[in-house]
Amino acid sequence: MTRDPYRAIEAVWRIESAKLIAALARRVGDVGLAEDFAQEALLRALEQWPETGIPDNPGAWLMTTAKRRAIDHFRRHQRLERRHEQFARESELQQELAAADLEVAMDDDIGDDLLRLIFVACHPCLSMEAHVALTLRLLAGLTTEEIARGFLIPEATVAQRIVRAKRTLAAARVPFELPRRAEFASRLRSVLQVIYLIFNEGYTATTGDDWMRPALCEEALRLGRILAELVPEEPEVHGLVALMEIQASRLRARASPVGEPVLLLDQDRGVWDQLLIHRGLVALERARVLGRVPGQNLLQAEIAACHARAQTAAETDWNRILVLYDMLIEVAPSPVAKLNRAVALAMATGPAAGLESIDALVAEPSLRNYHLLPAVRGDLLRKLGRLEEARAEFERAASLTRNARERELLRTRAAECQKGIG
């Protein structure tokens, strides 16, 4: 055995921590305490494994050690008013420790425990920021420092968010259980939102950023894939996984070698990652066979799949995309979806129809400062030969975007229109 123990412990932690915290949280009834015990077990491993070597079943070793810490804790902190409850927990833990086949007992309902942990991390009593921090910390096993680097915020801010979130959960006495049937769908929706937010944070990273930012895409994909195995009967989970797989397949095509953004239709499809596209299409199929009315993740994934299936931009099935946007606007109406629908309409039937459809959105308050509205408008005006108006729209879009490279690109387009006017 020549495994470097310290590095091996880090890797074991990465693989085991979520399961460990989840299993402990069900037994001690508090996510914060559960993480403390898991951390204490990790420290024990760091002390002992370099000398004793890595145990045959490192996960079970960590679990046993953490449970012993939990028992010690309950003995030290028995408070009168909750004595009965804690005594029950302690004896339950001891019985488990005594059980010969600990490993089997642990694996049995670990899936449910993990699912409970995800729902608690994304509990409605917490803010979106807290959801993200807790999910990355408890489920993905990221350190506070890694989360801070990923989101470009100070480490102390992340640490504070996590501490506060744990305190809020404890104060609200949030039970470690799955949401009831009536609220399951809405709770699942917010879990999916958290995962997609993490993905997008990584997706918007640009060249030269800390590698931890794009790595967030991988973390979100991993979380999504785990969730898809935990609740395989939920089509929206497969829909989100499909959407992320297909979007991630374009990661290496979406920026030029010098870091300029390359728009979807201009991307070199040859460098799209075919393995991820395949995985995305398989995830879509898993959702489809469940035979339910498609939700917004699934519909967005279907749209992404239309692009993924087209060998060239010209082969894109815009009529199908148009239908999918209509369905999407039906289940989740949003101005951005309407803008995208207008683009699809322009591609399917010509720039004039698209322009008309966009003009109906100009008054939309939430799009007032959205740079893509004038950018798309400028594009269509240019196609219609209305260069002066197109130039003005590109200039406006350039003044609205916060991305320097995108601003450059829009200015170039404006200049091209200017040249055309002559």
Binding site: I15, E218, L251
Partner: protein, 139 residues
């Protein structure tokens, strides 16, 4: 980062066509595959028929020369692979250690090359060959 875990079964270089693995071994391996999938790290996996069913193409003097398997000079050959997505080489090693192993095979861990691993001139050259699946970003 992506790693390939290459399965190298002992004696597979001489295996006859159509030989099938033991059902019990397969069942155990499926449990392991499931654990990779449930952890969200498995991207793809496949088993390969033995070399006796394959062929080798060598290029002596630039001309392709086809030799049917088995290949007498081969000391070890690949019997299958897993493609996994993990955060470090150590994590890949840790997953490989969890494979229900035996004397019958060895697992080799190899990291998949990404565009960022290369100097700019090589990146530029590779950009002309889109079939080459080299990733610049993650995932």
């Amino acid at each position: 980062m992506r790693f390939m875990m290459l399965m190298i079964p002992k004696g597979y270089e001489k295996a006859k066509a159509g030989g099938m693995p033991d059902a019990k071994v397969v069942a155990e391996m499926m449990r392991y595959n499931k654990s990779l999938q449930q952890a969200g790290v498995l991207l793809a996996l496949d088993g390969l028929h033995p070399p006796s069913m394959g062929a080798r193409i060598s290029f002596s003097g630039g001309e392709p020369l086809v030799t049917d398997g088995p290949f007498s000079e081969a000391k070890e050959v690949i019997g299958g692979y897993w493609m996994i997505q993990v955060r470090s080489k150590q994590e890949a090693i840790e997953w490989a250690c969890r494979c229900p192993g035996s004397e019958e095979f060895v697992i080799e861990i190899r990291q998949v090359q990404e565009m960022a691993d290369f100097p700019p001139d090589v990146q530029q050259a590779a950009a002309g060959f889109p079939e080459l699946q080299l990733g610049r970003g993650p995932a």
